[in-house]
Symmetry: C2
Subunit: 298 residues, 2 copies
């Protein structure tokens, strides 16, 4: 059994930590939210007094934070993970961030003989709870081998993608596809509704063909039911698309660029806390149509 | 067993006709391509001498043509289906066309006591051959009831969507989603390739999550293998998106609009005869990257 540090006790981090505890590992936690920290201690974790204290007491240090700036602060900042970590320790950075930031952090920590993996996840809160996340890992074969048994406590699909950054590139690829597939369902069902069709019947008529997708199966019914409770928040998906465009550099991503503009508008309208399936409301609002309510026949 | 006319003996029409013949129906065929006509006669169909002759001899008249102008010509044009059809006959128009054109034709033929259904299909040549197409039908309950047993010779999912035009609206919804999902896979794998990842590994890391789709499963491997043999031709998908935008009227479809521009550029570059999965080459060409060939690490 390993001694693990865990920093980042939010919607995702908390159930991921619990799956490590449940597997019998010893966990030391720290965070600035006292209530969340108390709850983790009640679940069996030990209380750290700072990020560096967590790192000093752990063989493996997990971080699960909103974006790159928070990760840089927690790992490289004052009294941070790097200040405390012992040589030979391994940082497993599971946030979804710009892969170029992963590489910058990796360069700083590996020069101090600390290992680093970027290991972002996909699947959201339900799969974090069930321990069935998809985990996409970048880093050396050696570090990956050390981390794999721990990652398998949290995920059912754990894939070594390549060197540091490759995990987050894969996550960006995932997020591009998901946002695009949601927008596609939105345009298709907005048009169908406007033409007087029942979107439930449209979904069942097309879902077994080439238009079939997990988004159509999972989000189609909740969109039609006007249920935008998150799930995965729209503002975080916008952050991911922004990171994709920052990473793209000389790669042109025309659809992702339009999507990023759409998501930015939606966040500006106050929809950032809704589920990312609320991407469909962009086309709805532009068109004066709400999916599910037939306005007229074709 | 019914007496059916069949007009439109192309890649899709020919195997659909064969499934009607195989079910024991009598078929009369006509087309301007003598070789195709001879082949259908060799398969057991009877030769018609014109569109109106086919119609005059049939209870049900099927049409399977490239786009709206061809359908209007064949049904409403000189010596066309309407000129020959007997009162009480039913036209089952299976082309993928603008639903507004379906409605215009329906108005012309129903005023002469001829029934009309729009019944476009999805699934491509393999499912046309197997008789497992998805068929989306618009028209009256009465006409749908008459046609359903014949349509089930050609399709495994036959759905009555609403009044005339509803079949083609559903097909447009399908085509919006398919084009968007292909473009999404293209952007995701172009970025991944540019960052040095193996796109095969990216696909297997993400396909079981929310990014999963039939496009990713079916077209991902052929895109990576650079196999753009049609399948469904890109220029026909462009036609479908054009029809979606024509139908949309006051509905705004921002992603579909970008896709339509992309497909138009690709047709202008001479890629219209490739499989529609060649949509991915738009981003590739812009970016100087070919999916599958790693150019550098992230």
């Amino acid at each position: 059994m390993a001694i693990v540090g865990f920093i980042g006790l939010g919607i995702m981090g908390r159930p991921m930590l619990n799956n490590l505890l449940r597997a019998g590992h010893t966990a030391i936690v720290y965070g600035t939210n006292a209530a969340k920290l108390d709850a983790c201690v009640a679940d069996g974790a030990q209380r750290g007094i700072s990020n560096s204290d967590v790192a000093a007491r752990s063989e493996f240090i997990f971080t699960m934070l909103p974006d790159g700036p928070e990760v840089e602060q927690v790992i490289l900042g004052p009294d941070g993970v790097l200040a405390g970590a012992r040589p030979g320790a391994l940082i497993i950075e599971m946030s979804s961030i710009n892969p170029l930031v992963s590489q910058r952090i990796a360069a700083a920590v590996t020069s101090r003989n600390i290992g680093f993996l970027d290991a972002p996840v996909s699947g959201g809160e339900p799969k974090a709870i069930d321990g069935t996340l998809a985990i996409m890992v970048g880093g050396s074969e050696f570090s990956y081998g050390l981390a794999e048994p721990l990652l398998k406590c949290m995920g059912s699909t754990v894939t070594h993608m390549g060197p540091v950054g490759a995990g987050n590139v894969t996550k960006l690829a995932n997020q591009i596809i998901v946002a695009c597939n949601i927008a596609a369902v939105g345009e298709a069902l907005t048009l169908s509704t406007r033409c007087g069709l029942d979107p439930h019947v449209v979904v069942s008529a097309i879902k077994n063909g080439l238009a079939g997708s997990t988004v159509l199966n999972v989000k189609g019914p909740t969109i039609i039911a006007r249920n935008f409770k998150p799930g995965f928040k729209l503002r975080l998906h916008r952050k991911d698309l922004r990171n994709a465009l920052l990473t793209a550099n000389d790669v042109k991503l025309p659809i992702t660029t339009v999507l990023q503009q759409m998501l930015t508008s939606l966040v500006d309208e106050g929809k950032g806390e809704l589920d990312h399936s609320a991407i469909v409301t962009y086309t709805e609002t532009l068109s004066g149509v709400e999916i599910g309510l037939a306005n007229k026949n074709v």
